[in-house]
Symmetry: C2
Subunit: 579 residues, 2 copies
Amino acid sequence: MAENVSGALRRYLPVLSWGRQYRRDQAVGDLVAALIVTIMLVPQSLAYALLAGLPAEMGLYASILPILLYAIFGTSRALAVGPVAVVSLMTAAAAGRIAATGTPDYILAALTLAFLSGLMLMALGFLRLGFLANFLSHPVIAGFITASGVLIATSQLKHILGIAAEGHTLVEMVSSLAAHLGNTNPHTLIIGLAATAFLFWVRKGARPLLLALGLTPRLADILAKAGPVAAVMVSVLAAWLFDLGAKGVAVVGTVPQGLPPLTLPSFSLDLWGSIAGSALLISVIGFVESVSVAQTLAARKRQRIDPDQELIGLGAANLGAAFTGGYPVTGGFARSVVNFDAGAETPAAGAYTAVGLAVASLLLTPLLYHLPKATLAATIIVAVLSLVDLSILKRSWVYSKADFTAVLATILLTLGFGVETGVTAGVLISILIHLYKTSRPHMAVVGQVPGTQHYRNVLRHEVITDPRILTVRVDESLYFANARFLEDALFDMVAERPAIQHVILMCPAVNAIDMSALESIEAINERLASGGILLHLSEVKGPVMDRLKRADFLQHLTGKVFLSQHQAVMELGGETMKA
Amino acid sequence: MAENVSGALRRYLPVLSWGRQYRRDQAVGDLVAALIVTIMLVPQSLAYALLAGLPAEMGLYASILPILLYAIFGTSRALAVGPVAVVSLMTAAAAGRIAATGTPDYILAALTLAFLSGLMLMALGFLRLGFLANFLSHPVIAGFITASGVLIATSQLKHILGIAAEGHTLVEMVSSLAAHLGNTNPHTLIIGLAATAFLFWVRKGARPLLLALGLTPRLADILAKAGPVAAVMVSVLAAWLFDLGAKGVAVVGTVPQGLPPLTLPSFSLDLWGSIAGSALLISVIGFVESVSVAQTLAARKRQRIDPDQELIGLGAANLGAAFTGGYPVTGGFARSVVNFDAGAETPAAGAYTAVGLAVASLLLTPLLYHLPKATLAATIIVAVLSLVDLSILKRSWVYSKADFTAVLATILLTLGFGVETGVTAGVLISILIHLYKTSRPHMAVVGQVPGTQHYRNVLRHEVITDPRILTVRVDESLYFANARFLEDALFDMVAERPAIQHVILMCPAVNAIDMSALESIEAINERLASGGILLHLSEVKGPVMDRLKRADFLQHLTGKVFLSQHQAVMELGGETMKA
């Protein structure tokens, strides 16, 4: 009993495993990583809150308690949890349907999204339903992330231009931008363009320059990561010196000073009903993004993560966000990679980062009053454009038109109808494509490869066939969606070959036969019999055979079931094949 | 050019094929069949209109022009088109959401359902999308028809009892019946019970009795089919003699005398929007029912039907119904079988039936004034109870729990939430079950069957294995839903076998590898390589190999691709296996 309790505790509280053996060298690595990540996260958290349409401080709050909770419940040692771009955009889309951006109801909707998302993730984790995320195929995720990157970058152009614009789809955004273009604020535009240019340069150019200046690689790394902080400091200084706020440059304004407040999500069932779908999408997308980052990083150190426990970790983080003024969070790609590269050894790095951010929100917030929103927008644009990867279109085109269709549809639908429609449609389209493909299975007439016991497609290999025997290999499990196709295709083949006396259905690739398909095979058996043709099966897999034995089909089968195709041809072919 | 036109004409107008060679003996068969079917259809058409909540004459109208149009465009020689029980119930459910039963708006909704259904069927036919109907699996159809039979029979009990009751689900109906049970009209009940008992008896007992009385088998058949007509005549007579209308027995009342009127469906896009989903379900269910009847009958005479042309035939019939005071129609099981058994040779039998029904609606309608609705309800109950077949539950339970789940869910959801929810959920559930099963593929470790080149599951056969080689046969196509499962399962197997140097993925059952799965295999390849283990593939199918060659995966593959598993083991196993 005590064993069970401690086993369950260790499973649901991974902190018990790594926490007991926490070593001094690990602590040093964790502290350095935390410092770097904190420097990176301050501007990023503010920026993503802006993207989500929320007060800047909510971005900071969403990075404090959630990180701590993930450190306790999560299984990845390097994952950094907090606001991320795509989830921020999805939060804006969902809360925007409930209330006007920035209103108390809008904020309440964001808190409630985090709460519902936390509950859903927890539930999926306890029910061990993490595999459901597999229904998001790689091409759909790639297309969705790329399209989201384009949407997010476009959504930030209004801050760069200093104009009002809105919309959740590309067309809405672009036409709204075009309509307000005349109101562009030149001061804002200068700051926005300068910050964007600087940040793009800093990504690639800063490190080599710093190394050339004689800094150690480690220090050069840290300073390069601090690029966004430098942009923030310079633009705050510029805005203060030149009093840009008075010249129409939108600034962040008063950010409350202090630790995250205690907040409550809404418990209105009406609100829950109208945002539950969005919360589910946010949960699934957040989970998929987080798990793929976590698995990539874990593989590099030969560690394993447990997807079901990850659901619990992320669920706890989101519940934490809901009660401390945050909004939906997940494991972010950029921050996790930085954390990993900076030497984070255990989830304690996350805890230290949380402390760093708490200090920042206690002490630094007054300095952010003059921070131009254009600078934050530049941070976002530079960050998300790295998500845009159109090469998936080319790769999928080359590999498979079906995958290409799913990618292209996901990209176009996300751009054209917003994130929620895009990702939902992407999942449905990839399922439909899969069903369509399996509903028209590849069927090959096969013959014997001379001198072997192998039977291969007559169209691809030089093989021997017997005019009295038609062997058809069906390259698909047989189920309701292709049962009728099998009937039609088989009768067409038989009709073309009047000399046929035996039809062998070769089943090495038939992994299942459901009831609909069984009824179709029974119909085939009956119709062939009426034409004097016997139906045989060969190479039926064990599990399929077990199932066939449960029905009375084998009693009606006019022919036999052969263990191997070669046995079938030897017995039925008589002298022809042996010669 | 002229060839093409005449080919297209012959394809879209099957009447051109059989009409030219119409022979005298065929005409005799058709006329006799038409007479029998007409006798059967008069009460049935009235009854189904009652079930649909429509005026009785609409049932007759729905059987006249639609039959003629199907005779021109349809490909089945025996199918009899008109109102059927399940589609009538679905019409009632859909129109009932738009307006109160029997109101002009309700009737307009029924006409519009026929119109939209006609357009949809036509569109599916011209786009050659008949295969979509395959997504309705046999178990789902069986469960749906059975549950619909129960719902329909229950819905008619109010007419037998002579009370008012309503509802679209079993619980609603039963509780509504229970609430009004006190108002049961004894005269109605006597007529209803007597008619039901008589009709049940007539199905089995009439023919032997008539034969015993010395009638020819042919005449006995015809008279037995006329059972419902006899019930109608006797109850009309009884109602008239005893003035039952005045005693609270609900009668059909005034039925307009004349040919079908010209009617127009609604062209309101609002209405279209609210019933389009229902129209689609009615179309698909009607098509599936009709095609399965048509194929069954065609097979008996070695004829073929063309499912895509059937869509056009049924589409034309429904458009005809919409413009001549009918409601959605399809090929009915009972009437088609009667038509076939009575000797119908060509679709002309349908045309003659249409003439017979036109005569009936011109001349006989005044006689129907006193017809008790209880008699019609009895006709329906007896007809639909033959649809109820709970044996599907037992058969599917024995064969496959997945199919059983789909059947049971369809039955329960149809009874509990009505026909539309039931059939939609049935389709979704069978798709989800299929996805779930393929997302956890069967994977077998295989070894060599001694003395052969065959490799079989180590758990099922006495086979030879090499401790340095792990061969895993994956019994499923690899795609996004099972890509991660493959990774996890394979690493678990490798972890249990420390001596392994080679992993062979044996792919005779892998019919496709999509991009998500390819990325997983690449990850497996990379991770095995880091442990010093080579990954090989064997028995990769031609189409799968073609696809793999398009990606750069084969350049990264640490091992080889072998044509056969035996070659792989010979080459990798060295002396061990040859010994």
